[in-house]
Symmetry: C2
Subunit: 455 residues, 2 copies
């Protein structure tokens, strides 16, 4: 173990440079324009896997972006750990708000800035480097290890389910380990036992054949922007509840035990508000901030556009208006069921003067872990050693659609050990990753493989 | 007169080529990027004025875009006619909807396509060529003539008022003639006796310091897009009335005589709906389409934007959301008064979780003509001859902010003789101008100068 930890410490600077190389590849999975970059990133990850000493690594083509699979099965009789992560990243606009270009990583004040630095390239890198430290430091791993690093997490892991089902034997494991979540806050190592699901839509409205002069036609036609704002306004009620009929039918209610555990976590709503820079927080009535973020579904328009949005004052009634809508789900909501409810409701409330259509963009299942499995206790011990601090159980408002799927298909515990921080701007300009957490993440992972060898 | 008409007929093809040259200059007044083009266009108009034989023409600098003034005062004892128009044009986006580039004019099916073809370069050109026909056909004009062609009509004629006041003596006239409106429909020559005013705003909202991940933060913050849709929804009530307190205080109500005259015009609401391509028409309850378009104020969001609007499905709660709002006013509403009411109301209804600010973009006064002046009868006679058809009095939903100002400053009748058509896509992609109306417009204007010589 000493040799492993020493290897990691001695190679720290080199690891950082290698992480930069990974971030430099603009692997934006939602953009057809970046298809080749996504592909290139997959092969780059495969090369890293071979370089750190895995027995094999391969790029698997799918109907979408490729999956990278690598393994090192040199520990007979020992448990097998499957590590899941993703090498694809979110889009980068608005580009002008980035202080340094998103794909030119740079370290400032102990933070690595760049798209994907924390979500999820940096966290995948932690495991690659922890494994490297074992293999280069001692020549062996205490467990059997499988890496499954996909390229479609940010677009709903469309092809992973089929891959998983087709390759169940290859992927079989005793525990699945995922680092794609955040710690509650700096200095508080956290295991995430719940994730929200996702149902994402685009609403498209058309009011007329083409754009109309707002003077010559204003007063005679329904402006599709107004129709859109009316629809958006009817998606939630005045208490912040989602107004789609039947939406809450499958929601698991919070029990008093959950609420007490959440209330005891070190979390200050006023600090949180200040950090966000909001004048006032806002959520569903009757729930605390953490309850709303982790245990309640929510709906947000992620984008809205229509008409003239440039400089100046063009007087136009646009022909079209559009919105992108994200709904976060909790157990046991199903994205397909919710999609059907959403489509029905939007069609019903759309004003008769406009044509409406709803596109289903992507969806993902929510997840809730059974933390009684010994892998969770093993993880608590490893994180406590790695961070020299007590470990908490948290949930996460975001979605990793694959988690519930692998839970169901492989039927093994899924442990979410996240090394990010909530304010690291994942999905926003100036994404960064705390380099102390990167370092402690590698150390914790080194311990974690050891701990998991004894479950 | 015969020589004048013959000159116009013989030079018809040349006139069209010259109009194309005018349209080719991208004189978009709202875009700082096109400042030089606007300037170039002013000088081009001046050169045309000198070329057609005016005694003098000059480009006058203002604090914004220049004004072109030219005159031909060779008819002592005769009335003086001031012709107003504008050489600036609207922006051209969405550019991809243009069948041919906006500044590469082309004639297809008797229509001249191009930005500014009808609004207002083509209509200014009608008068320039009618004057040319008089001066080249007979060597003289039957009236004293002044041209005032500005470059800021599409951005609220910001500097024209001061120019008018500073140069009252130079601009003094007996009648003002403006061709910047539409005919009721093809084959129905029309004089416009009312225009709506304009108050245009941009609403800017901010909810947080920066964009937030919709999973990690969704449920804890007020999304500024939702705040914006709530604000927009409260701008009008369920009857299509503007909900701003005090908004209707200065509105001149429709009297039974107005309503009867409008009802007798050849206008079919169902044809109108089909032409627009709307599933259903929509307007303020209790008013016909023409009443709503011409005699009632209205409010339209001309642009809305916030968050992710690209391809794919970025899961983000944006930091900001924005809307551009156009309010069309009727006599005797004042844009400044309305602006104050609008700002107060938006500040009041904005949710407390967001920061809101309102920018006043531009405004213009509404106009209502006194049609008892003999210039109106003279115009009816000229149009009847030029188009060989009965003439109607109409109003127009759009705004020409200058009209009410010149009416007040010069205190002479303003006659709006428009040669456009309502479906010529002014302010939209694929703007066009009917070439038959261009030709008949020149002919009518030739007669009109003659008719006006006897008022």
């Amino acid at each position: 173990m000493e040799a492993v930890v020493r290897y990691a410490a001695e190679n720290h600077d080199r690891f950082l440079e290698e992480l930069k190389d990974l971030i430099r590849i603009p692997s934006i999975s939602s953009s057809t324009e970046h298809k080749d970059d996504v592909d290139r990133c997959a092969h780059f990850v495969k090369e890293i896997m071979l370089g750190i000493g895995l027995e094999s690594a391969e790029v698997w083509q799918t109907d979408g972006h490729p999956i990278v699979y690598g393994e090192c099965l040199g520990a007979p009789e020992k448990p097998t750990v499957l590590i899941y992560g993703h090498y694809d990243v979110q889009p980068v606009d608005p580009l002008d708000l980035w202080e340094t270009p998103p794909f030119e990583p740079s370290i400032r004040n102990g933070r690595m800035y760049g798209r994907g630095s924390v979500d999820d390239k940096g966290q995948v890198h932690i495991h690659l480097k922890a494994v490297q430290s074992w293999l280069k430091g001692t020549g062996t791993l205490p467990i059997n290890l499988k890496f499954l690093i996909e390229g479609e997490e940010e677009v709903g892991s469309k092809n992973l389910n089929a891959f998983l089902i087709d390759n169940q034997k290859m992927l079989a494991a005793d525990v699945v380990l995922i680092s794609d979540t955040s710690m509650l806050q700096k200095g508080v190592p956290s295991i995430c036992c719940g994730l929200r699901g996702l149902a994402y839509f685009q609403i498209d409205l058309r009011g007329s054949k083409q754009d109309l002069h707002s003077g010559s036609f204003g007063g005679a036609v329904k402006n599709p922007i107004h129709a859109l704002t009316e629809i958006v306004n009817q998606l939630k009620d005045e208490k912040g509840r989602i107004a789609i009929p039947g939406f809450y039918d499958d929601v698991v209610d919070l029990v008093p035990g959950d609420r007490e555990a959440l209330a005891q976590l070190p979390f200050d709503e006023e600090d949180y508000r200040k950090e966000i820079g909001a004048a006032k927080l806002y959520g569903e009535e009757g729930f605390s901030v953490l309850e709303n973020l982790w245990c309640r579904p929510t709906l947000d328009v992620c984008g809205i556009w229509g008409g003239f949005t440039g400089e100046g004052s063009k007087t136009v009634i646009p022909a079209e208006a559009h919105a992108k809508v994200s709904i976060r789900l909790v157990s046991h909501q199903d994205p397909e069921t919710v999609a059907a409810l959403f489509e029905d409701y939007v069609s019903k409330i759309a004003p008769p003067e406009v044509e409406v259509s709803v596109q289903r963009m992507h969806g993902g299942l929510p997840f809730l872990a059974d933390t009684s499995h010994p892998a969770f206790e093993a993880s608590v011990r490893a994180l406590k050693k790695g961070f020299d601090s007590d470990v908490v159980f948290i949930r996460e408002g975001g979605s990793i659609p694959f988690v519930q799927t692998i839970d169901e298909v492989l039927n093994v515990p899924v442990v979410l050990v996240g090394f990010g921080l909530p304010d690291e701007n994942a999905h926003a300009p100036n994404e960064w990753f705390d380099m102390e957490n990167y370092e402690k993440g590698i150390l914790s992972s080194i311990y974690l493989y050891d701990e998991l060898s004894r479950i």
